[in-house]
């Protein structure tokens, strides 16, 4: 079966255990999740989850429907497509000595990343971008020796006027 990477955005009520409910669902149904992030949305008491999942479209559709069955999940949208901005943040601590430091700094420049910490034997780099860009940067730096890597997982938003993940604010007025 044809599998591909899908990005789902779920608007959920900001209650304890919501992330647990979603994660437990993925585990139980055997859905393989690439990344899941959760944080505040533009609405009070509503959080925004971004889930990246690899699978056939039928499987991803099941993920979406099962997520929507959770009472705390208000809406789920599959935002996969060209009109979607997907970003992730990475912190990379790479070995750096006097002979390699400038080369690393050049690579960081090319990727429009930032150096946020310098030590005698390392550089810490902050980079944002889509998954491919961060993976390329990582691959370029690997030769120098990676000491630590932390990636946040993706957040996504549809470009321009389209608001595929937006929800009717009227329906939320009683949420506390």
């Amino acid at each position: 079966m044809l599998t591909s990477k899908h990005t789902l955005v779920a608007m959920v009520t900001d209650k304890p255990g919501v992330l647990n409910r979603a994660a437990s669902l993925f585990r139980r149904r055997g859905f393989n999740i690439d990344s899941i992030t959760v944080g505040h949305s533009e609405l009070p008491h509503v959080s925004r989850m971004t889930i990246v999942v690899v699978g056939s479209s039928a499987m991803v559709e099941q993920v979406r429907k099962q997520l929507e069955k959770l009472v705390d999940v208000i809406k789920v949208a599959d935002v996969t497509g060209e009109g979607t901005i997907i970003r992730e943040l990475a912190l990379i601590k790479v070995k750096a000595v006097s002979t390699t430091r400038s080369e690393i700094m050049q690579i960081v420049d090319i990727f429009r990343a930032k150096i946020v910490d310098v030590a005698a034997d390392s550089l810490t780099i902050e980079a944002t971008g889509d998954e491919d860009k961060l993976s390329s940067l990582y691959n370029m730096l690997r030769g120098f020796g990676i000491k630590e890597l932390a990636r946040t997982g993706c957040v996504a938003m549809v470009r321009g006027g389209a608001k595929s993940a937006a929800i009717d604010k009227e329906s939320l007025k009683d949420i506390q």
Binding site: S24, E61, V71, I74, S171, I175
Partner: protein, 563 residues
Amino acid sequence: MKKTGSQILCECLINEGVDVMFGILGGVIIPFYDTLPQYPQLKHILVAHEQGGAHAAEGYARATGKVGVCIATSGPGATNLVTGIADAYMDSVPLVAITGQVTRPLIGKDAFQEIDITGITLPITKHNYLVTDTASLAKIVKEAFFLARTGRPGPVLIDIPKDVLTSLTEFVYPDRISLPGYKPTVQGHPSQINKAARLINESNKPLIIAGRGAIISQAYDELKQLAEVAQIPVITTLLGISSFPESHILSYGWLGMHGMAYANLAVEECDLVIAIGMRFDDRVTGKISGFAPNAKIIHIDIDPAEIGKNVRVDVPIVGDIKPVLQSLNKDIDRVDHIEWISRMDTLRKEHPSINIRDTESIIPQYVIRQIYEITKGDSIVVTGVGQHQMWTAQHFWFDKPNSLITSGGLGTMGYGLPAAMGAKVAFPEETVWCIDGDGSFQMNIQELGTIARENIAVKIAIMNNGFLGMVRQWQELFYEKRYVATPLRCPDFVKVADAYNIPGITVKNKIDVIPSIKKAMETEGPFLLNFIVEPEENVYPMVPAGAALSEVLEEPLKKVRCK
């Protein structure tokens, strides 16, 4: 006026129309029980084990369509409910389980009898709540009942710390519910219904498969109208039995692993499946790639996640069965599928499936048929899980709507006795038979105590074959008769019943079967019949696990049709 959490809980239960609860108390839930005398309209039935309480609440819920309520204390009380909650989840039974929890300051400290029951029941409830303040209790109880009974029904658990029950707060019963993430679709989409009608009108060999959704939705008349107007044969799933009268000329039994061979073969031959409130369980479909190979599929279900989960669907309709069928029926042409119906009749003639052999010894099929004859089918029948369950589904003919109560999805042995108890409490005027196996019966045998104390007049018929029979059958057929851990040594069930002051008879001779059933019917109160039946009788037809429905075995090792 300020009220305690316990009082608020009672008032909410009354507001939700609860008249009976099944439960056992314990340390942290004493404050709730202490309040009960103030609310005499809330009847509480003390059960012997919390699992029995959960199944009794299920039996009550399945018989009435109302929400069943069970109560337990924290820790082991709560974990003992788990099997019942899981059973309700699998079979879409409206249930509210209320558990006590340790006081809020002790949560997370591994206190005595503290257990994370909301964590444990996360994957087996429709939703669950840990109540963290008394002020939110009324809102939560209202939501819980709403969630349990609407949409696709299911169990909801409310975990209430002891100090939430004892704290005082101003009681305001919420007048409405706000759940922005929960909006079940009731009406089917008109264009989908239109497409479905067109497919039905164009089909030559349509077949209705009705599931428990038709019963939950009480769509009996609509289902009958659809079948009669377009002359569509009806088969059901195990849980769909009694959604359509089995003596109806268009009824062709039920399908699946132990369903009628003609029903299974019809699925292979039909050109259109109209799946109504069922979920294509593996016991129903057999090998999924061999399911209905020549048919298009219309799937009507209130749960969108069921559509496309197991089989590909040509026309999905999300909605409540009753209104969907009402709309659909308006667009259905009056036709007679004479050729197809006569083909169905031929299949039934060639593969009778449920004939009962004439034997000298007692076989369970014979006993069940006699119970049917003597009750004239006017009974609620509740079963345990195993061979007796399949024989009951095959040999008792269910004409009365919603008259079979059985554990389908979870297959919970021990379900029969407590569920029968709940059904009888719901309908004291109805005859309730619990048909059970000797293995299954022993798994909740302690509820004989509840039945005796409350004088719940359940008639119990045990098909006692001295084995965990269904597993023994698999061992015989697929494990070269290695009967590992299946032979049972049961107590004398009549003596056990006698210890509870419940009358009973052991029946060893065929000639005594009919008089003993009559005796049970004539005796007031509960009665136990212990039928000593043929020990190695097998359930046929049988579709071996993993085989296609068309590979049904009609008798030992003889395939009906090989592909």
